[in-house]
């Protein structure tokens, strides 16, 4: 009785499907078009011939290096965020003193600090620390700005652990570090996965920090590398589109092999 087809929803999703798929397919098709003829035919035309030239152009340049750098920065960021946010979340949830709740408030306030607003002093700091033009120059600030959301998500997950479990461990005489490793970490795995995915995406998407804190090819990331290609390739749009397409391949692989974990991790940012 209630399965009357929802025509309105059908029409809207069909429209959205076009909005999503037309630009994406234009990128993929253009990436395999020969450079000659693109300007006359435009982005939506069907290719008269297919070629791998553009992919080869991109891959024979510095692009693989940018990908490797980005992967490294992503790993560094995730490692720093998880290592720092887990103890903070634990202290905030279980500490229960005015000090730990003050710490929580501070991170709540930190949510409202836009990274752009502090990038000038950060630039100074990075220079003073001797990190300019290194991968850490991008990873450390990115991790710092992922911390507030991570602490919020983690403390939410850790509050779900029942008090009886803590009491049982306390009865056994377990200290905080044993409680953390044997109880809190295993039981907040999904929260930790969420902050991992969140931090990884922040690092992968980051643009302002690598733009300002790095300079040389050897420490360039995919995002800033792509931006350089806009000027470098100029009218060679098919090569540029090939670079855009290739930049999505690493996450596409993650998506194909770990879709469930990725989606669950992202959903976790919104809470339950």
């Amino acid at each position: 009785m209630r399965t009357r087809p929802n025509y309105a929803a059908g029409a809207l999703t069909a429209l959205w499907l076009l909005v999503i798929s037309v630009p994406l397919s234009a990128v993929v098709v253009t990436a395999f078009k020969p450079q000659a003829g693109y300007i006359e035919d435009g982005p939506l035309s069907l290719p008269s011939a297919l070629t791998l030239d553009n992919v080869v152009t991109v891959l024979s340049g510095d692009f693989p290096r940018y990908v490797a750098n980005t992967l490294l920065v992503t790993l560094m960021t995730v490692a720093v965020v998880v290592a720092l946010a887990v103890p903070v979340g634990y202290a905030v949830v279980r500490g229960q003193t005015w000090l730990t709740s003050g710490v929580f408030r501070l991170f709540l306030l930190g949510l409202a600090i836009p990274s752009q607003a502090v990038v000038i002093p950060l630039f100074l700091l990075i220079n003073r620390l001797g990190l300019y033009d290194s991968l850490w120059a991008v990873a450390l600030p990115t991790a710092a700005f992922a911390l507030p959301v991570s602490v919020l998500v983690l403390s939410g997950a850790m509050r779900d652990i029942s008090n009886e479990l803590y009491e049982a461990m306390a009865l056994d005489g377990a200290g905080p570090s044993r409680v953390l490793m044997t109880l809190v970490v295993p039981l907040s795995k999904s929260g930790i996965a969420t902050i991992g995915v969140f931090a990884a995406l922040q690092a992968w998407n980051g643009f302002l920090f690598p733009l300002i804190f790095t300079q040389s090819t050897s420490s360039k990331l995919v995002t800033t590398g792509l931006y350089d290609y806009v000027a470098q390739y100029g009218a060679n749009v098919p090569a540029l589109m090939a670079a855009v397409m290739l930049s999505a391949v690493p996450i596409l692989l993650v998506y194909l092999f770990a879709r469930r974990a990725l989606v669950a991790g992202l959903m976790g940012v919104g809470g339950k």
Binding site: T13, I39, G110, I120, L125, S155, W204, R259
Partner: protein
Amino acid sequence: MVSQLTAPAKSDVTPQQPPRTRRRVAPSVGRPGVVWAVPGLVFFALFAIVPMLGVAYLSLTDWNGLGSPQFIGLDNWRRFADDPQIVQAVVLTLVLLAGNVAVQLPVSVLLGVWAAGHQRNRAVLSAIFFLPLLLSTAATAIMWRQLLDPNFGVPAQLAGVFGGDGNFVGTSRGAMIALVVVTSWQFVPFHSLLFQGAARAIPHTLYQAAMIDGAGRVRSFFSITLPQLKNTLVTSGTLMVVGGLTAFDVVLVLTNGGPGTDTTILPFRMYREAFQTYDYGYGSAIALLLLVVATVVSLLLTRLSGYDKMQSTQEGV
């Protein structure tokens, strides 16, 4: 998440009641002290809070990046008075923010609720709708830049539909619309994912009760789904606001602040002053202005949404 965050946070502040009956374990046994939070706190302070104080100091100086900053008092702030583009930048920042939220919020709610259904076709389409998330903001902006290119992009080919000479991004209104479209295209999938997760958590019994009462689809949506999604609406809205205030990469790639200064929002202007003109003092003053705008907006948001006194939506269910 939000409900769980705020409710117990309040009980944190109230002093611990002494137990009436003797407990076998003292309440402080096995509890972590504040030292556990120190490494994270120091790290966050070093890279976020100290720089915030730094930007306040630098805004009172004249500095071109070489030598040491010269203290000049409020001169940078006085420059705001003679800089009509600053007021424009604040207005543009808020307009872009409003446009982004106005487009993204309804679309992601509808898509998320739709995707929460368990039909097979919805699962397949959702997997496609997820795809923009695989591209970075820079990649998305570059893709759209080529598609909207005035010379060999889509508007040039379909000039009849778009009107004009196909230079869509070259008009001030067109450029703003393009920024909203591109940002929404990239972030709607993420937000609809949040709403999908939240919509699946709504107890089915609520809908059954509504059906017995004779409520239709539209009525159920407004009377059950939306109120139940309240916490996620706030979380998602907050993330949209923060993202909207700080849209920098899209502006740099897509419009470069133009035409003229018609899309020069605050973060972009700050970047220009500091890292292209090397006027770090004035750049810092603009950065501080951005911080003030961000704080005012998030305070308003907290008040309007009742974030500070939020409750679980499932009470009494």
